[in-house]
């Protein structure tokens, strides 16, 4: 996965709170292989029922500004695949569900949690506005507003470098092996008895 440091694109509003993973991608689409592309599944049923859906009005948008508790529900990483494959690079909301936020960072999608999300939704309204994100300085410019956002050091490094945890962890192989051996010696019960 390629890392990125700055992104410029268009932001649109998804004016809903608790956008759950079943809405982001209904379960019936999840047997597809990733190679087929998940973008067409994004928010499938909501879009089908709404002729004026923001992402259909502005198909080039790459930033979503949504309501609190974005990504709640299941651990399905397919919810993130759907966003990424539809060209979304940044989601801004008051808050994110923990599992979703972790999955997002693992796939190059930036979750920006900020109390300013409501003000941004109001400023953007029905349109699409230019937006810019800088991961290095943790700054977001959208609808003429500039704001700093919080992002853990780990998430920042992973997004910017496109790092894969497996490579990083394999560097600790010796520590892992030692831990395993010590655990097996001290806590043999922790291995299945059958």
């Amino acid at each position: 996965m390629a890392g990125w440091t700055t992104h410029e694109g268009e932001a649109v509003v998804l004016d809903r709170r608790d956008v759950d993973t079943d809405q982001l991608i209904p379960a019936r689409f999840m047997s597809a292989s990733r190679a087929e592309g998940y973008g067409r599944f994004l928010l499938h049923d909501l879009r089908e029922d709404d002729a004026d859906f923001p992402l259909d009005r502005h198909p080039g948008a790459s930033m979503l500004v949504a309501g609190p508790n974005f990504g709640c529900g299941s651990s399905r990483e397919a919810a993130v695949y759907a966003l990424v494959d539809a060209g979304i690079r940044v989601v801004v909301a008051e808050s994110f569900a923990d599992i979703f936020a972790g999955n997002a960072v693992n796939n190059g999608l930036l979750p920006v949690a900020t109390p300013e999300a409501a003000a941004l939704r109001a400023a953007i309204g029905q349109g699409a506005v230019p937006a810019r994100v800088d991961l290095a300085s943790r700054r977001l410019s959208v609808a003429g507003q500039e704001l700093n956002f919080a992002l853990s050091e780990t998430a920042q490094a992973k997004l910017m470098n496109g790092w894969d945890d497996i490579d990083l962890t394999r560097a600790h192989a010796g520590d892992i092996r030692n831990f395993r051996d010590r655990r097996k010696a001290d806590h043999a019960w922790a291995w299945p008895s059958a």
Partner: protein, 463 residues
């Protein structure tokens, strides 16, 4: 001074870096949905690090009927792919034809794979269920599943600690499901985000293991990735003698260690919340998020009286659910019922539903899918299957079934389902489906009357 979370975390931490811990994983459970993770492994030519600690389970796509001839090719492919991946990597599989097959969060405990003091991962958000044993159980995404497969470890930032206490005696027909829906309705779906919840208090101690699993299972619906209950005599009695539980001196060592797994009396929590059981009634969700829940005797809220932030979500939810503000919940007609899932598919749950249905007929159709084939077998030994069948409900095989609809067990568009499951999200049980979450006994009551109903009068005169 340490919390249960502190102790479990320290016991699994290999190293800490930039606010993240590298943790050892004792059990890794994979299912059909883990195909993305296996694909990642294959892409990089990696092997599974610890096949002995990895277990496969067919549940999300498992057909509940006609298992000998699967007519849905999409379902068949998912099951074949899981079997092929397990065979390829030497992973033990509880497949469709295994008599122990069932939902991953039911069979882990049932087989003694789930033990106090373990760290258990699964690519499923309801992995918090296993915390009921005093374990660290948490759901992970596909990238992390691939990481656990390749390294038997997981990177995770330590959550903040939160204690939720329930004190006092439960009222009639007030179950762990009602306790969970109650706290979520009070604190919100994001109420425990970033926290690991430890459930405590006299009413939690009084719960069976099945009840504790229901409570921990639903933690994620309040935003908490982890739910846990300190192990005690109830836990040990459940675990002892399970097929993969420790034996002999290993058991003795485990038991001695498990005695230390509790929050110290002077431990402090980042958040501490307490509920009085007198406030908890049989509870039903009315909306499209699990926090939109009310006692069965209540009336639907009037969005005009809610704070503006909640009002629009409530209006939207009622429009989707086909409900009218201000009307009583009780008496709302339902089209069908569903009993099952990792939340409420265990033997206690089936017994509670059968106690209501005994000698009665269901007015609407319904599906009963036990949490595992062993739960099914036990229920049949107790004659519960006859109660369900005589009431007019369908008695089927085990799997995630109508909770998530991946196997084709779906609720139709606009249809209203009284369901013992965990999510009332739009489209969760099928496109346009209207889901009301409640306890198994309340589902049974809805079946008997064909409406959302207070189960308590139906239990009068019954033991």
């Amino acid at each position: 001074m340490a919390t249960l979370l502190d102790k479990l975390w320290a016991a699994h931490e290999i190293k800490a870096e930039h606010g993240q811990s590298l943790l050892w994983v004792d059990r890794h459970l994979v299912h059909e949905g883990s195909h993305h993770a296996f694909a990642k492994l294959a892409e990089r030519g990696l092997e599974v690090a610890e096949p002995e600690l990895t277990f496969g389970v067919a549940d999300h796509y498992a057909p509940t009927r006609n298992r000998d001839r699967i007519d849905n090719p999409q379902v068949a492919v998912m099951l074949e792919r899981l079997e092929a991946n397990c065979t390829r990597h030497g992973i033990r599989l509880f497949g469709l034809r295994d008599p122990r097959q069932g939902i991953v969060h039911v069979i882990g405990p049932e087989q003694g794979l789930t033990l106090p003091g373990l760290l258990i991962n699964c690519g499923d958000s309801h992995t918090s269920t296993h915390g009921a044993f005093g374990a660290l159980g948490f759901g992970i995404g596909a990238t992390q599943v691939a990481h656990v497969l390749a390294t038997q470890t997981v990177w995770q930032a330590k959550p903040r600690s939160m204690r939720i206490r329930f004190e006092g005696e439960p009222g009639v027909a007030v179950t762990a499901k009602d306790m969970a829906l109650h706290w979520i309705s009070q604190l919100g779906t994001g109420g425990a985000t970033g926290h690991a919840v430890e459930y405590a208090g006299s009413a939690v101690r009084a719960l069976s293991m099945e009840g504790r699993m229901t409570l921990c299972n639903l933690s994620i619906e309040g935003g908490a990735r982890f739910g846990m209950v300190a192990p005690d005599a109830v836990t040990l009695a459940y675990v002892k003698g399970r097929p993969m539980a420790p034996l002999g001196t290993d058991w003795d060592a485990a038991e001695a260690y498990w005695q230390t797994l509790h929050s110290d009396t002077d431990a402090s929590f980042d958040r501490d919340v307490s509920f009085d059981m007198a406030e908890v009634a049989p509870t039903v969700t009315w909306g499209t998020t699990p926090d939109q829940a009310l006692p069965i005797g209540a009336s639907l809220p009037d969005p005009a009286r809610l704070d503006p932030e909640q009002a629009e979500a409530a209006r939207d939810a009622m429009a989707y659910m086909g409900l009218t503000p201000g009307r009583p919940l009780e008496g709302t007609p339902v089209d069908q019922v569903f009993l099952g899932s990792c939340t409420n598919g265990r033997i206690d749950d089936l017994r509670a539903a059968a106690a209501v249905l005994q000698g009665r007929k269901a007015k609407v159709p319904g599906l009963v899918s036990p949490g595992s084939m062993l739960v099914k077998q036990q229920a049949e030994q107790e004659g519960l299957d006859k109660v369900f069948i005589e009431a007019g409900l369908e008695w089927t095989g085990s799997g995630c079934s109508m909770c998530v609809g991946m196997n084709g067990d779906l609720v139709g568009p606009g249809k209203r389902c009284a369901s013992s499951t965990n999510r009332n999200f739009r489209g969760r049980q099928g496109k346009g489906a209207r889901t009301h979450l409640m306890s198994p006994a309340m589902v049974a009551a809805a079946a008997v009357t064909g409406t959302l109903t207070d189960v308590r009068p139906l239990l009068e005169g019954r033991g």
